[in-house]
Symmetry: C2
Subunit: 189 residues, 2 copies
């Protein structure tokens, strides 16, 4: 698929078929991640590929609890309706872990721009585009708390679980979400 087509066609998918993902497709998606740029090319990412129904169910339960707590704190109606069962239903989760020590020289600035997280987010975007190219649906899920996810996946304290990517064959077409034109978001000097 052409790059611009993939960028334009990528959608957030929340309804997946149970069909498993061929290992070669999974490999292409993970390899795409590793070609993202990072501070001083320190590649601050690691991945956990979750296909175990038991582990997926535990993560889904933890996310549902987080969602309920967030609804109570925010009062946002859409959170009450938001169903996270896609975490249980999709055939593969890719959990992206970042290494906070790998932010390059920026760690000496002491400000709040975490370079390792930026690099991991770029790696995620590569994965979402790669999934789209392969005809797969994907979702960049972030509505989780790190403590329970860390416990369920036995993640060491020196790594940060940053994102959970759901991947699978889409069970339905996702509608395009609108965008504000760049012209309204850009100034020129």
């Amino acid at each position: 698929m052409e790059l611009f087509e993939a960028i334009r066609k990528r959608r957030s998918c929340r309804k997946f078929m149970p069909d498993s993902i061929p290992p070669e497709d999974l490999g292409k998606i993970l390899e795409a991640a590793t070609w993202a740029p990072s501070p001083a090319n320190n590649q601050p990412w690691e991945f956990i590929v979750v296909t175990s129904p038991d582990i997926k169910a535990k993560i889904a339960d933890a996310a549902a609890a987080t969602k309920t707590m967030l609804f109570e704190k925010s009062g946002w109606k859409w959170l009450e309706r938001y169903n996270v069962d896609f975490i249980r239903e999709c055939p593969v989760l890719i959990v992206v872990l970042g290494d906070p020590q790998k932010s390059g020289a920026h760690i000496f600035l002491g400000d709040s721009i975490p370079g390792y997280q930026h690099a991991c987010a770029a790696a995620v975007q590569n994965m979402l585009l790669a999934a789209c190219d392969l005809g797969l649906g994907s979702l960049w899920f972030t509505l989780f708390e790190r403590c329970p996810v860390r416990r369920i996946l036995k993640i060491s304290t020196d790594l940060d679980p940053l994102s959970i990517i759901c991947i699978g064959k889409p069970a339905a077409a996702s509608s395009e979400t609108p965008r504000t034109s760049f012209a309204e978001k850009t100034r020129y000097i």
Copy 2:
């Protein structure tokens, strides 16, 4: 260009020709940014396109001062040698601003995962891939302090300057930086 080719061919470019970028190419790059995913599709990005030689010089001077300070703090030899003149020389800088209020429900978690920054980083990755597709070189520059950049560009306090993207025709081929295979970075459960 095919998606996987763009992902694989993207390089960090630090030597640019002075030739200006056609406005339609710049438009394609900025539009690509806006198709990145974001929490609840809140599109937390804004852009400043800098072509003014005077403003570029001011940003380059500020980055050089930051670099010197970081070398003194870190003692990292490569920082002493690192020449940021490409900021002055490249025809276009795209400064990416993020809105910290647009992190979705995550703002109620009070943890350190800034969703608006993740979305802006995904938008940056789209821009780098788009530049590659158009035969342009690019650099994701983050070695700056926000205070001076904010002052030079008159950025309001409610927006966060997160990244500076240098774009232009490459003056030399950039060599490929090696990657650790995903196989060494992935566990399966």
